[in-house]
């Protein structure tokens, strides 16, 4: 991958309320065009890390840099304008808006290219085109996730943050989501993704992070982490024994 990292988060300390720090010195780097995967036990601060990068969690300490610009503590609409998008884990579509309107809402900072981008999204997800006049509340779990990703891609971001895109999906739909992620990445978008499905996700990852207690526990190439016996033991369900 290339030299200058696209996204650098360093020494993040903070949490939702002033008294309780959930992040305790987290760091994360994403190089251009990489897939970065964050894993770790529940409560490790994975979601909080991604939200903090996107300006949704107040930080007491640390910096977030996007393309060399300091975006620490910026409001999300500003960060979005600078080329980073975020897909929350749940409630990530507007249920009472149509699919087309959902996509429009993603284009708040890129109204000029909206029609073009919308066509691109419909090309990527033909199922959304069929149902573009329907309200999003009628979509299945997998379709919702597609719409959420499409909405986030509307402003043509260079970095896409995904919070457990496969959560709660049927194993069949999980495969589709991962395919989509690879496809989007192939078009040049840097992906930072939290995953419960650690094995499958690390297999795709250029870079992997294992978080615990709001701190980095292990860092390395995805494949290396997969092979690391300690990581396997602690976070992947006890190595090969955990698999059927």
């Amino acid at each position: 991958m290339t030299d200058a990292p696209v996204l650098v988060a360093e020494d993040l300390v903070g949490g939702y309320v002033a008294e309780v720090d959930i992040l305790r010195g987290c760091a994360l780097t994403a190089g251009e065009g990489e897939i970065v995967v964050v894993i770790g036990p529940n409560g490790a601060g994975k979601s909080t890390l991604v939200k903090a990068i996107f300006g949704l969690v107040p930080l007491r300490q640390g910096t977030v840099t996007l393309h060399g610009t300091d975006v620490t503590g910026q409001r999300p609409n500003r960060i979005s304008a600078l080329g980073m998008s975020y897909v929350p884990q749940v409630n990530n579509v507007f249920p009472s808006l149509t699919i087309q309107e959902n996509l429009e809402m993603g284009a708040a900072n890129s109204r000029a290219t909206m029609d073009e981008r919308m066509d691109a999204m419909y090309a990527l997800f033909p199922r959304l085109r069929e149902r573009r006049r329907n309200r999003a509340e009628g979509l299945s779990g997998g379709e919702r996730q597609m719409l959420a990703v499409a909405r986030a891609l509307m402003p043509e971001p260079s970095v896409l943050l995904l919070d457990e895109p496969s959560a709660g999906l049927a194993p069949k739909a999980v495969g589709e989501v991962f395919e989509t992620v690879q496809q989007v990445n192939a078009s040049g978008v840097t992906i930072v993704m939290i995953e419960q499905n650690a094995r499958a996700a690390l297999a795709l990852a250029d870079r992997g992070y294992v978080l615990e207690g709001g701190q980095n526990r292990f860092t390395g190439k995805g494949a290396d982490l997969l092979d690391d016996p300690q990581v396997a033991e602690l976070y992947l369900g006890g190595g090969a024994a955990g698999r059927e």
Partner: protein
């Protein structure tokens, strides 16, 4: 729109049955319909040989059918022990007319407190008994809900994703505990779970739902080989792992 459309399944007394299916298959809705939280347009629920369709959730709970929620509903501004004590059944002090006369319920209250402490101990929350439940983490809330449900001494306990957010070691202990309750008291367990390892490991029977219907109900081994289930739910990943 129907989230659940003509689904039929049975849970045998004293069994551990799991309910699986893709998101949006109607699993939680099925729970809501069975436990009386949502009114069904049609269909019947039979519990211990009696037709209990259209009974309210509190009536069903008193009859022995107690559930937990996917998104936990702990009573945040009450203490952990109060959360557990609340679930006690047959408590005379909970009647309005007795509220003024402590001697009618003091004894039972002490019993209830003791049992609640035991339950909290069982799920590893004894040290938190006097804390407000709002201070618990997501996983601890799941545990408190489980303790609360068991405190009600159900004959059928229905758990909606009980393991989500609970650390795996403790999760396994709890499964063992449920299995023990089944042996000792004939407790019946019905639970929704996404983790296939857990499902296949502990269930006597698996109910698979898809698009509001029951695709099949069978022992785990059969379910795993069922082509319809692989198509609708397990998919390629399931085949690869199986």
């Amino acid at each position: 729109m129907k989230a659940v459309d003509g689904a039929t399944f049975t849970v045998r007394r004293g069994s551990i049955t799991s309910l699986i299916g893709p998101n949006g298959a109607g699993k939680t809705t099925a729970f809501n319909l069975v436990t009386g939280f949502t009114r069904a347009d049609s269909g019947t629920v039979v519990f211990e040989g009696r037709n209990v369709t259209r009974r309210g959730p509190d009536q069903l709970a008193r009859a022995g059918m107690v559930r937990t929620f996917q998104l936990t509903r702990v009573l945040g501004k009450m203490r952990v022990i109060e959360n557990a004590m609340l679930a006690a059944s047959e408590h005379p002090g909970e009647r309005f007319v007795n509220a003024l006369v402590p001697r009618r319920w003091k004894h039972r209250e002490a019993e209830v407190r003791e049992r609640a402490m035991e339950m909290l101990d069982q799920v590893g929350l004894a040290a938190k008994a006097e804390d407000y439940a709002a201070t618990l983490s997501g996983g601890q809330r799941k545990l408190l809900e489980l303790a609360r449900a068991l405190m009600a001494e159900p004959t059928l306990v229905m758990l909606d994703e009980p393991m989500a957010g609970v650390n795996p070691t403790l999760g396994r202990q709890l499964l063992d505990y449920l299995a023990r309750l089944r042996e000792e008291r004939g407790l019946t367990v019905l639970f929704i779970e996404h983790d296939m390892e857990v499902v296949m490991g502990v269930s006597d029977e698996v109910v698979v739902m898809g698009e509001g219907r029951v695709i099949t109900q069978a022992p785990p081994d059969e379910v795993r080989r069922d082509q319809r289930v692989i198509d609708a739910y397990l998919g390629a990943a399931g085949e690869a792992e199986a």
